[in-house]
């Protein structure tokens, strides 16, 4: 088992080192497949269902789009290549914690190799609605060994900013349960056998996921945002952080040329 990722990373990588995640003894995301450094930037949102992360990322995307920035938006679990297998597995309930995890990793790998990495290398700003931390939280909640999971996603580039939208369990669960009539089997964590009531199973599953997310705040440099404050105020915070941490000018070539 690898504990040291630096030996697998390209020595000619960026001169400015990425934020260290030295507190964790688990393998960190890196590059098992040799690749060069990239000039682009990666912004990720994470959080439990109902934490408000997708709304906020959408608003951030609109802000950047209106500003004319070069960006690409990517969602978790959206690669057409693996979609049919995932759908079949879910419908027929063939998935176990291990195969659930691997199939999502295959999906992510496809997007990573064909979209995220090429775009980062092509100097794009990439926005991701959910990233590898979703898999760490969800699959660890299903019982997958954390060390195995960390290794599984070692090929993923480390985000420049990871926003973690934190909402208390009851608030997040209420947002989902009040808005959606029926929870799907795996979504509710029914495969864990926590409860045979779907809503109750969902709540217990989300509680575990929240716990797993909280564990990663320090080890993975999450920027924690309060998911309960008004949408526009939260968006203001998010935009300020993005503007302070990322040199946005680099992603707006057209505006620069026009002047």
């Amino acid at each position: 088992m690898p504990t040291n990722v630096t030996e697998t990373q390209d020595p000619q990588q960026k001169a400015a080192p990425r934020p260290e995640a030295a507190k964790s003894t688990l393998p960190q995301p890196g590059r098992p497949v040799p690749s060069r450094a990239y000039p682009g930037a990666l912004i990720v949102v994470e959080g439990t269902d109902g934490s408000g992360k997708s709304t906020q990322l959408y608003l951030l995307k609109r802000w950047l789009e209106i500003g004319g920035y070069r960006l690409h938006f990517t969602e978790w679990n959206s690669s057409p290549l693996v979609k049919s297998a995932t759908r079949r597995g879910k419908q027929r309930r063939l998935l176990t914690p291990t195969t659930f995890s691997l199939l999502h990793a295959a999906d992510f790998a496809d997007r990573c190799e064909r979209q995220i990495m090429p775009l980062l290398q092509g100097d794009y700003l990439v926005l991701a609605d959910r990233y590898i931390y979703t898999a760490f939280a969800r699959d660890a909640s299903r019982g997958c060994p954390p060390r195995w999971l960390r290794n599984l996603y070692r090929f993923a580039p480390i985000p420049d900013i990871t926003f973690y939208f934190r909402a208390p369990l009851d608030v997040a669960v209420h947002r989902i349960l009040s808005g959606r009539p029926k929870l799907k089997y795996y979504e509710a964590g029914m495969d864990l056998g926590l409860s045979y009531d779907r809503s109750e199973s969902f709540r217990l599953f989300q509680a575990r996921i929240l716990e797993e997310y909280d564990k990663m705040v320090d080890t993975d440099n999450f920027v924690v945002l309060d998911g309960t404050i008004p949408v526009n105020k939260l968006q203001k915070q998010m935009r300020d952080i993005v503007a302070s941490k990322i040199d946005l000018k680099r992603f707006a070539p057209r505006a620069a040329e026009a002047e």
Binding site: M1, P2, T8, P32, V33, P34, L81, V82, S84, A85, R88, G89, R92, L94, L95, T96, P97, T98, T99, L102, L103, A105, A106, A109, D110, C112, E113, R114, R142, G143, C144, P145, R147, W148, N151, L152, R154, F155, Y185, M190, D191, L192, G193, L194, S195, Y196, R198, L204
Partner: protein
Amino acid sequence: MSDQEKDKEKAVAATTTATPDATSAPVFGPATKIPTDEEASQYFYGEALVGFDPSEITGSLIVIEGMDGSGRSTQIALLQEWLESEGFAVQTSGLRRSNLVGRDIDELLAKNAVTRLTLSLMYATDFFDQVEHRILPALRSGTVVLADRFIFTLIARGVVRGINRDYISGLYAMALRPHLTFWLNVRPETAFAREFKKAQAISYWEAGRDMSLSHDLYWSFIRYQTMIKREFEVMAKRHNFLELDGEASVSSVNKQLRQRIAEQLGIRATKYTPSAALAHLWR
């Protein structure tokens, strides 16, 4: 019956082993015991498979590895017949045979529209689906599982394509350790001749054409299989492969396999002549 009713039935069945309240342990099928680290390295390559109790294993897992054209499938057909004649229940497994993604991988390979990492992970999904739905149930019921290839081929294929060795071995840390692993070692030149004779052609993937080793099909095959073979040599030492000379006759290789398997399973007589149905394999 609605989905919800089915869930309830399942959950009710589960209450016999655990009560479905907030504090109970999760229920993954019949096993609720979490294996210790010691068990995890005894039965697995480092990490215990989620929700699986290794003490339930009563069968034997026998793996036959080797490149295309090394005679694996021939030997497995013969071994299955021999074991069944000795009264053992036999289950076979092989790559791309899972219900979950077996056909999806076939499609990906046919379209050649997949990157190496995604393909490796799809193969891993296929592997673990078979472990959990085919191999483990068989081993729990005392069946002999004959595996036509195992994680070693998958690791070798990934490594020669530039995927980090630790990374890909780590993927299979939850794979079961076989009781016996045979490696039918042949020269790539022999394998080429046998494969060509079989199909009058060499497939894109067998020849490793995705790796751009040579425009010449023959040289592409030889170079690719030589690289794979080198990876096998590394793993043979680390994982105690029982190496057999795949260039030898079918009957001689089969005899060596039977001797070692008989020892493992406690079979006294190892005499065997194939039935009429398989006689054509016995050259």
